[in-house]
Symmetry: C2
Subunit: 348 residues, 2 copies
């Protein structure tokens, strides 16, 4: 018997920029240059995003470059294999090759499906992300995770595929429906609890300006959130250790979303409920003080997130998720504002 | 505007063993140890492979470990998204989690689909490969490439996902249908042309023993092929440079397969035709001598591969493939036995 050892050389380091602010898209042109000038750039987006922002995007394109849209639904319930296959069929139709560039232009659903299609098509092509929602700008567009839903659950199929660059242009947020905007805000509050410094105080002091979408403040908020995410993902891309802290409020949040079949609550609203729950749990299990719990309750209610009663049913979904993914529930508990910890063995 | 640079730490080096020989499966137990003893090991295979070899596999399993089969078709025409989805649904049904192990047990089709399912399910779980055909033992089970077919073409969707270990047990080859065996043999001849040393002479001198599947010779052949593959893939995992040399005979081969809709010729038989074509082309374009061409013709005919006439239609498929993947045809030309080169700009 012979033994042959295969040693695959490590890939080059993965480094990519995120541009944040009202002028972020000005930098787009530089990232198109490596791609053959004669080739079209294909852009996956939704009819809704295209109708609102296609002109803005096109104006940021060098005149010489042709851009070609692929339109797909951006509803969570359409974030499935069927839509990804639709994107891939369009790529074939458009004769996209290994050296072409794809753009994801839309919210988290568009981002996830485009990243997955880019990861699978011809075993992986480059893509750039232009997130248009608060939630995708502060969170899902960075970090390489992409996933789609099966009827059995959320994000059960996916990959890690990072963009070549991300452009968070806050101008797109102006047209965001209230529900989408609030979904992002709840996730911002989660980041503030994780961070406990500048972002926390910014949220407490500047409610009015934030709700008025002051571009300067939005830029600051997005930067603060992504700085936290950056720290947690850079040395744990595959989500085995500290990246899990980003799941603060998500354990119950995911179960809540699943229990009402992703119909009523947005992702962020479910996370806000998750934050209420985990703040209460952290206090009851002596992880944090009553005062810390109250501070979190106060910030949530400052932004009009109030605790809901939810049925025992939710806990069944908690268990289902646990069984499937990991055999352990990864509760992220709060010690104080700006300090959380993982407590997997607590409540099995 | 702010710029944030995301720097993802490189993953740990990717190293995995390939065991080759009649006793290769004896080493299986050691590779199951890192996976929780209480958990079942799930094994993707085909009804045909299971009926022939399930007992052999089970006997190599530690008594304490439970093994659970997922049966899918292993026909090339079923190597599609539907079958991969079927595998993933079974994984969900069996409550497979992030820390479980999957086994691919079968030929190249089973290997490709299992690797892709393992790559996608929960964004990636571990798998082990136990190839049962000559073609998968000398080639597809090693190197991380996995792909499935769409109606528009072969391997248009896929990923790079390497196994944790590969076990090439030559005992499985005894039951191989003649067509499958010959498909592998043609690919062995390709490797011999690439290598031009021990493997080339072995094929020339030991035809009878090889066709009688002498286990000692088979082990030597598999080892020689994988040694060549190892050299070419280790520093070019993603197929941008020297890994492409493995495509010797495949440019025409793929077009031939596509032109007859993967019905008549096996992959290897198409590659044998590709070798005939590229040897002729290399001679005509002054890459190699008449003698080198003749040597290749002789080895092919020694193993009963004879040149077919194929219609001009094939060249249309060549063009189609080119347009889609790369805009360039990557012809691998022969200089002499054991020396090939890439000549992309030659025949656009």
């Amino acid at each position: 018997m012979n033994k042959l050892l295969i040693r695959i050389s490590p890939p080059p380091p993965l480094v990519y920029p995120v541009y944040i602010g009202p002028m972020a898209l000005k930098r787009l042109g530089a990232y198109l240059k490596p791609y053959p000038a004669a080739r079209r750039i294909v852009c996956v987006t939704s009819p809704n995003v295209a109708s609102l922002h296609w002109e803005t995007l096109k104006n940021c394109f060098p005149r010489s470059r042709e851009i070609c849209p692929i339109l797909v639904s951006d509803r969570e319930r359409d974030k499935n294999l069927k839509t990804v296959k639709k994107i891939i069929s369009a790529l074939i139709e458009l004769k996209v090759n290994r050296y072409d560039l794809l753009i994801a232009f839309g919210g988290g659903v568009i981002g996830d499906m485009t990243a997955l299609a880019a990861s699978l098509y011809l075993r992986g092509i480059d893509f750039i992300s232009i997130p248009t929602t608060l939630l995708s700008q502060i969170d899902s567009s960075v970090g390489g995770k992409c996933g789609i839903n099966l009827s059995a659950g959320k994000n059960l199929v996916g990959a890690f595929h990072h963009p070549k660059a991300v452009f968070c242009d806050v101008r797109f947020l102006k047209t965001l429906p209230q529900k989408e905007w609030r979904s992002g805000l709840a996730e911002v509050i989660k980041y503030a609890v994780l961070e406990g410094g500048g972002l926390w105080f910014l949220l407490r002091r500047h409610k009015r300006a934030i709700l008025n979408q002051d571009p300067h403040l939005l830029r600051k908020i997005i930067l603060a959130c992504l700085n936290i995410k950056k720290t947690l993902i850079e040395s744990d891309e595959k989500d085995h250790r500290q990246r899990r802290l980003l799941n603060l409020g998500h354990t119950i949040g995911h179960a809540l979303e699943a229990s009402q079949r992703y119909q009523k609550l947005s992702h962020g609203e479910a996370v806000a409920q998750g934050l209420y729950y985990v703040a209460e749990l952290s206090y009851r299990k002596n992880f944090c003080s009553k005062r810390t719990r109250q501070k979190i309750f106060d910030l949530l209610s400052l932004y009009d997130f109030y605790p809901l009663r939810f049925s025992r049913n939710v806990f069944a979904f908690l268990h289902r998720d646990k069984k499937r993914k990991d055999d352990k529930l990864h509760w992220i508990m709060i010690r104080k504002i700006g300090q959380v910890c993982q407590a997997p063995a607590l409540f099995q």
